[in-house]
């Protein structure tokens, strides 16, 4: 166990724990945009910068990725840090002029309105959360691709692409998030995980009674055979079944439980 101080508060943490987690556990607020507890860190938005002083030397680090390895003093709200945060938010406002979330944060933090031209963008701040979500849980994940390749040998229902559904495209100032060649993706299952983690709501999902459209591709909904409850997209259900190595049964959890219970009760003559 290591003792560190954050804004003068003494905190205890394990070696290698990330600074942001330690701060949050001790109710110390550090703003973030590209961080999600369930996804690997990327350190792209830089909003969570803090000052770390170790053996007399002070440096600026991003708390979401910085592993605590020794006794350090952390300051999360010095003048220098606040100025940087304001600038980062001001820059992001120019990147995503249509985002209410960013505009709201700029107001809250007192970020200046820079006298420079806005990017003709929408709400995307290129934080990369959607890409990471797809890589980890969606059809873009490495585990899935490996599995799909294996299944392809056994006549798998899904074509296997060499990359995730969405990725960061291009580099530098022209970077965007998109599907390969901006075409509707062949392997997307319409799970909406990307839209779910998007901090600014850039990824649009339109839904009707019978289906959902995302990344320019339409998906049919699947409903429970027994009670008619919405299960998700048809592709999602089939994909989940494939990953668990079974045939899809199109049942909601409650009806599946009931069916299992009935099956177990039968030998006892209760039907």
């Amino acid at each position: 166990m290591i003792q560190i101080t954050i804004d003068g508060v003494s905190c205890t943490c394990k070696k290698g724990e990330k600074l942001l987690a330690v701060a949050r556990r001790n109710n110390i607020f550090i703003p973030t945009l590209c961080h999600h507890d369930g996804l690997p860190g990327m350190g792209s938005c830089r909003l969570c910068v803090v000052e770390v002083t170790e053996s007399g030397r002070t440096k600026v680090v991003v708390s979401c990725l910085y592993p605590v390895r020794g006794e350090i003093e952390v300051v999360t709200n010095s003048e220098r840090i606040l100025a940087h945060r304001k600038m980062i938010l001001a820059l992001l406002r120019k990147r995503a002029p249509k985002s209410d979330v960013i505009a709201h944060m700029c107001e809250a933090f007192g970020a200046p309105d820079l006298p420079v031209a806005s990017f003709d963008g929408g709400k995307c701040i290129l934080c990369g959360l959607c890409v990471r979500a797809c890589d980890l849980i969606g059809a873009g994940s490495v585990a899935t691709r490996t599995l799909l390749k294996k299944l392809a040998g056994q006549g798998c229902a899904y074509p296997v692409a060499g990359a995730g559904v969405i990725a960061m495209v291009s580099r530098g100032t022209t970077k965007t998030v998109s599907t390969p060649y901006d075409e509707p993706s062949e392997i997307c299952i319409g799970c909406g995980g990307c839209a779910n983690v998007c901090p600014t709501g850039e990824i649009t999902v339109t839904e009707t009674e019978t289906g959902r459209t995302i990344w320019g591709k339409e998906f049919k909904f699947a409903f429970c055979k027994e009670c008619g409850e919405l299960l998700g997209t048809d592709k999602e259900v089939r994909y989940a079944a494939q990953r668990s190595g079974r045939d899809p049964d199109f049942l909601c959890p409650a009806c599946r439980q009931k069916r299992s219970a009935d099956a177990m009760a039968e030998p006892f003559g209760r039907r």
């Binding site: 860190g41 990327m42 350190g43 792209s44 938005c45 830089r46 909003l47 910068v49 600026v60 680090v61 991003v62 990725l65 910085y66 592993p67 220098r80 100025a83 940087h84 600038m87 980062i88 820059l91 992001l92 120019k94 990147r95 820079l114 006298p115 420079v116 031209a117 990017f119 701040i125 290129l126 990369g128 960061m168 291009s170 580099r171 530098g172 100032t173 022209t174 970077k175």
Partner: protein, 597 residues
């Protein structure tokens, strides 16, 4: 006496017809061979003085010829080789007009001390035998008999710091990797030299590939690695070829592969070609690229020596650093540390380019002053123009003004003045360079080369570019300078990698040393250097003009006309390129305020 004729076939000389010279010399030797045991012609890597190439050097007399044409081959063989007579027209003329016979007497070479470039331009880089004949691989043999600790101690004692730019102590890096128990470990050579105007690493890989391999082998022995990668930018076709060939030759000789020189140590090297991203010179992006992912840097809170390539301990060093290692092992770290300054030991290779008389590749002891480098070695500024600034360390390096020409060139001093050592680019600018345009140019380059992963670098560069472009076009506003400084400060502190944190250097140093130029652009819509086209017009000063009409010949838009056989007049079709001013030997063409009022 058998002589060797060394023909420089480095990039610059090759472009100037070095290969043709070599062929012509070989033919002339064949023609003359009947009456003499003449000599052999050797094609070497870069000899340094690219400006005066193709270069030919005759050994052992050490007679050096410059700007040699294939038509000179016959004379060289007949006069110099057979009759030991120098040919005056091919010799170097020093500033007082004397002919210089030997290489060492040429001031360009006289001040140099070659360690990393010890064999470049002297041996046939394609031959492992020549390398061995020049003492090559003796350091490897020595290292095989030393313990890992002994090898690292020599490197620590030498004080050598990373030549890729960051200047991290190499010995310390190796030590941290060597103490780790985990396996496998990797060594990597960073040959992704992407700086505009820099060609040090390419020249070493092309001209003496085995020195890099030998350094890497010693490094691998020291840290206990069994595999190494050479990441070379794909644009360096010659370097890629030469490195691959060197690896094959070393494998054939039993220096690489299953067993190094018959010991039980295994070692495999392979070449990985870069995909054209400047950011892949950054070590973590480079490793990501080798792994087959997009070359984006990652946070370095856990160093590569702990978790590098595929999460394994990795030592990554620059080409030049590796090339220095055999010398350190052979001569001892102490001896190496005597060269250079206390905190920056050894020598550094610089690519001296831009507005300097003798552009080329130089290797000088650390701590040399910029003045000596530019004026004594580089011969000063061509056409008797005034020196204005020098940019050190590549596109994200800052610039140093004339008032600081006497500062020593070493890692820490350059940093103190807002620039950096970088990988060793030196771009000299004369008074026809606009510092705002200079900053805009490099920011624009970095805009295209930033990976775009983190906010400060991606967005900061974009706005810096638009602000600087506006200033150059006469649309600058009060407050722009302060805004550039603010954006720059956030980029320095908050960027993810060194590309982002050093990217504002060109902007911040030009503001620091040439603020009045920015102010002239913003407040008076005037470009003092007469470079920014939107703010510049040219006029001919008829009091000075001699009517030679050299300006009309270079004008791309035919804007300069001669009225009734009199002096030239610049008409409205002028596009402000400034070629006429550059070509005028009488300084009769003056830049005046024009364009936006």
């Amino acid at each position: 006496m058998t002589r060797t004729i060394l023909v420089c076939c480095g990039t610059g000389c090759r472009a100037n017809g070095g290969m043709d010279v070599s062929l012509a010399l070989t033919a002339a030797v064949d023609a003359a061979a009947a009456d003499a045991n003449v000599c052999c012609v050797t094609e070497t890597g870069c000899s340094g003085l690219c400006e005066l190439g193709p270069l030919v050097r005759i050994m052992p007399d050490d007679i050096m010829y410059y700007r040699v044409r294939p038509s000179d081959a016959h004379d060289i063989i007949q006069k110099t080789v057979l009759e030991s007579e120098p040919i005056e027209r091919l010799l170097f003329k020093d500033s007082s007009g004397n002919h210089v016979l030997h290489q060492a007497d040429n001031p360009f070479y006289g001040h140099q001390k070659k360690i990393a470039l010890r064999n470049v331009g002297i041996i046939d880089s394609r031959s492992i035998d020549e390398y061995i004949a020049h003492g090559g691989y003796s350091a490897l043999a020595r290292a095989l008999e030393m313990t890992s600790d002994e090898i690292i101690r020599e490197v620590e004692e030498s004080g050598i710091r990373g030549r890729g730019g960051a200047g991290f102590p190499t010995g310390r890096k190796w030590r941290s990797a060597a103490v780790l128990e985990s396996s496998p470990k990797y060594v990597i050579c960073n040959g992704d030299e992407g700086d505009p105007g820099a060609f040090m690493d390419g020249s070493i890989m092309d001209g003496d590939p085995h020195s890099v391999l030998e350094g890497m082998m010693i490094g691998a022995l020291a840290i206990g690695a069994e595999e190494g990668f050479l990441y070379i930018r794909d644009e360096y076709i010659q370097a890629v070829k030469s490195m691959k060939k060197a690896i094959r030759a070393a494998e054939k000789r039993g220096l690489l592969g299953e067993s190094i020189l018959g010991t039980n140590r295994k070692l495999y090297f392979s070449v990985v070609r870069g995909g054209g991203a400047f950011v892949c010179g950054e070590s973590t992006a480079l490793m990501s690229s080798i792994e087959g992912n997009v070359g984006e840097p990652r946070a370095k809170y856990i160093h590569s020596v702990e978790k590098g390539l595929w999460g394994c301990p990795t030592v990554i060093n620059n080409v030049e650093t590796w090339a220095n290692i055999p010398v350190i092992i052979n001569g001892g770290g102490k001896k190496f540390a005597e060269i250079g300054t206390k905190d920056s030991t050894g020598t550094k290779v610089f690519a001296l380019v831009g507005k300097v008389k003798y552009t080329g590749l130089v290797e000088v002891p650390m701590g040399i002053t910029l003045r000596k480098l530019i004026f004594e070695i580089g011969g000063g500024i061509p056409n008797n123009r005034k020196f204005k600034a020098v940019q050190t360390g590549g596109p994200s390096g800052g610039c140093i003004p004339a008032s600081l020409l006497d500062i020593p060139v070493d890692f820490d001093t350059l940093k103190e003045y807002g620039t950096m050592m970088g990988s060793g680019g030196m771009i000299v600018m004369d008074d026809h360079s606009c510092m705002v345009e200079f900053a805009r140019y490099y920011v624009n380059f970095l805009c295209g080369e930033s990976c775009g992963k983190c906010t400060p670098c991606r967005e900061g560069l974009r706005h810096m570019r638009s602000i600087l472009t506006n200033i150059c076009n006469g649309y600058g506003r009060e407050g722009d300078i302060e805004l550039l400084e603010m954006i720059g400060s956030t980029m320095i502190d908050c960027s993810l990698c060194a590309l982002g944190s050093s990217a504002p250097n060109p902007v911040l140093t030009t503001i620091r040393y040439f603020r009045e130029e920015y102010e002239a652009h913003i407040r008076e819509h005037r470009c003092p250097a007469g470079v920014c086209k939107a703010l510049t017009a040219f006029s001919v000063n008829h009091a000075v003009c001699k009517g030679c009409m050299a300006c009309t010949a270079v004008c791309p838009t035919r804007a300069i006309v001669q009225l009734n056989g009199g002096f030239p007049i610049i008409t409205k079709s002028c596009n402000g390129c400034g070629s006429c001013r550059d070509v005028c030997r009488f300084n009769a063409i003056e830049a005046v305020k024009g364009g936006r009022v």
